[in-house]
């Protein structure tokens, strides 16, 4: 393929100021790793946003001032006030509580979908790369086919087949992300496979699966983690997109995507219904993108410029 640059490898964040020579001097150990990460202001901001969203999701029960699905806790379509900081929606539900609970769905779907895709994709990539031959050909051709689907279109098709609900959203998004994980893993395994220590293990009579688990996987882990970090934001955007189309978790589940969609009908008299959940979504995505970028620069120095 005529592809000299992979889109996912490109820095999303603005360049980090400061001497780059220090960052290039391969640091060893955890503290140096952390120092290099901490020098990337965007990444630290991203980590902060991620932790904040995580805390919001975990402590939603404590933080939310109202029940997120209770109707009529305030007047309908009211803009932000002291009693309802983010206003109320058309059912008189408290928007702030719904946004806080929405973080839970967004993170659960985003993280679980990526983890599921990672487990399947990495396994396929390891097997394809290590064994080669027809196993490799079959697995990777299937991955090529999956890769051709735009993620949201594949997810829409999967939802059509499986029906709606949080579990199915996770599966639909995960299927769309399997191929990138398999490709990244396989590419690195091809290099590691030829290393002398793999040859030594093989000669010592260690079985294939054991070599893969003990010697191959640990050496290809860094790019996989980077890939996972970069994909979580994509998973959350896809989930929101599905919910926006009305193909996500059914109402009255508090989901950012469906909240934005509901507010569309009230854009003239109550613009806050669409705009405020969108801000929550956007801040989360910016944070995750910056965090993924920072992790890539620190964990996968090959891609650092």
């Amino acid at each position: 393929m005529a592809r000299s640059i992979r889109v996912d490898d490109l820095p999303l964040a603005a360049p980090t100021p400061g001497p780059s020579a220090a960052g290039a001097a391969a640091p060893r150990g955890r503290s140096r790793w952390w120092r290099r990460f901490a020098r990337n202001r965007g990444a630290v901001f991203g980590l902060g946003v991620f932790v904040a969203t995580l805390l919001m999701a975990v402590f939603a029960g404590v933080l939310a001032p109202y029940d997120p699905v209770a109707q009529g806790v305030g007047p309908a379509n009211q803009g932000p006030t002291w009693t309802h900081w983010a206003g109320t929606d058309s059912f008189g539900r408290d928007m702030l509580s719904r946004i806080i609970y929405g973080a839970r769905i967004a993170l659960v779907v985003g993280v679980l979908a990526v983890l599921l895709a990672m487990v399947i994709g990495v396994t396929l990539g390891l097997v394809a790369g290590y064994y080669g031959g027809w196993v490799d050909v079959v697995i990777m051709r299937v991955m090529d086919g999956l890769f051709a689907f735009p993620i949201i279109i594949l997810a829409i098709a999967m939802m059509a087949v499986m029906g709606f609900g949080v579990k199915n959203v996770i599966i639909a998004i995960a299927v769309g992300f399997i191929a990138p994980f398999a490709r990244v893993t396989r590419g690195d395994v091809l290099g590691v496979r030829e290393e002398p220590y793999i040859e030594a293990a093989r000669l010592a009579g260690v079985s294939g699966p054991a070599i893969i688990a003990r010697h191959v996987l640990p050496n290809v882990l860094a790019p996989i983690i980077v890939q996972a970090a970069l994909r979580v934001s994509g998973a959350i955007i896809t989930e929101s997109g599905l919910s926006f189309l009305g193909l996500g978790p059914p109402p009255p589940t508090p989901v950012w995507g469906s909240m934005i969609a509901e507010g569309r009908n009230f854009i003239v008299m109550a613009p806050h219904i669409s705009t405020i959940p969108g801000i929550a979504l956007m801040v989360t995505i910016v944070g995750l993108n910056l965090l993924g970028d920072g992790l890539r620069d620190t964990l996968d120095p090959r891609l650092k410029r």
């Binding site: 005529a2 999303l12 603005a14 051709r141 059509a160 926006f244 189309l245 193909l247 669409s274 993108n289």
Partner: protein, 314 residues
């Protein structure tokens, strides 16, 4: 060159085959018996067996796939249960507005991305660099459906500059058509510009770091001339291919964006079909969308090879 073209065409055929198998498998995973759905509540055992045989559902799965593929290759995607029209017609009518939006967004994206990517690379680590890359990540991270709503709120509801919703083919009524396309194209185009500006920046930085550029600089070539005359051509070839390879991403984005602006495209068609369990339409839409992506990728790769003598002459 011929070998390269043949191998790429073969690869594309293989991908299309896999895609067809995936879609066929997906459609077979739909719960419920299609024969029962067609027959309704009142039918005889005999009628059931006959319809089942007529649909080919009593054959092996491989035979079913071959029949299915043969129909599709002949351009027969079946009929819509609900809209009483041929799926091919429905899907094509919906594909045109979506494609129009994708092309318009590509133009908007490139117009924004080229100058901002150039400035960022030429003044690396400056405020310009920070500003344009900050803008890039900002517009890139905004979900397109939300950005569309915000744009409607500002430019239609408040300022009244552009129509909020609707679509007219630009070749039927150029003024109305383009006017209604402005907000959707900005919505999706700014997302695309964020992606492309970053690619242009890093591609240009990579080229500017190469020996022939250093040599030119040592000869005293001015920086602007260096970029425009020596670096641009080499930096832009990979950018052009990546723009093409993002066609799928844009198609997905268009599905969401057109929903916001009530454009009668693939998004609306597919979602309505899903909610109505009109599976032939869903299948047709997905098939056309994916085939378009695969074929655009092929064209992009071949164009790249044609532009790049290192591949063309190999």
């Amino acid at each position: 060159m011929i070998r390269f073209v043949l191998s790429r065409v073969a690869q594309t055929a293989a991908v299309l085959f896999t895609v067809s198998v995936i879609i066929f498998a997906l459609m077979r995973m739909i719960p419920g018996d299609p024969v029962l759905m067609l027959l309704g509540d009142d039918f005889t055992e005999d009628a059931y067996r006959q319809l089942r045989a007529r649909l080919g559902l009593d054959r092996s799965i491989v035979t079913q796939y071959v029949f299915w593929l043969r129909n599709i290759l002949q351009g027969d995607l079946g009929d819509s249960v609900l809209l009483h029209d041929r799926v091919v017609t429905l899907v094509w009518d919906a594909f045109v507005p979506t494609l129009t939006l994708v092309v318009a967004s590509m133009l908007v994206g490139v117009v924004i991305a080229v100058p901002s990517g150039l400035v960022a690379a030429m003044r690396k680590d400056s405020a310009w660099d920070w500003g344009s890359m900050g803008f890039a990540i900002f517009v890139y991270s905004m979900p397109s459906f939300w950005k569309g709503i915000v744009l409607i709120w500002v430019f239609s509801v408040h300022l009244g500059w552009f129509p909020a919703v609707g679509y007219v083919h630009p070749w039927q009524d150029p003024w109305q058509g383009l006017w209604k396309l402005v907000l959707p194209a900005i919505t999706l185009g700014t997302f695309f510009s964020g992606l492309v500006a970053r690619i242009i920046r890093s591609s240009l930085l990579e080229v500017l770091d190469q020996d022939y550029i250093k040599a030119a600089r040592a000869r005293g070539v001015r920086r602007a001339a260096l970029v425009y005359r020596h670096a641009m051509a080499n930096a832009l070839i990979p950018v052009v291919t990546i723009i093409g390879l993002q066609f799928g991403t844009l198609l997905g984005g268009a599905v969401l964006t057109e929903t916001v602006f009530s454009i009668p495209g693939m998004g609306r068609l597919t979602v309505t079909a899903i909610l109505n369990r009109d599976y032939a339409v869903v299948q047709g839409a997905v098939l056309l969308g994916v085939c378009a992506v695969v074929l655009v990728n092929l064209v992009v790769d071949l164009t790249y090879a044609f532009l790049n003598p290192r591949i063309r002459l190999a």
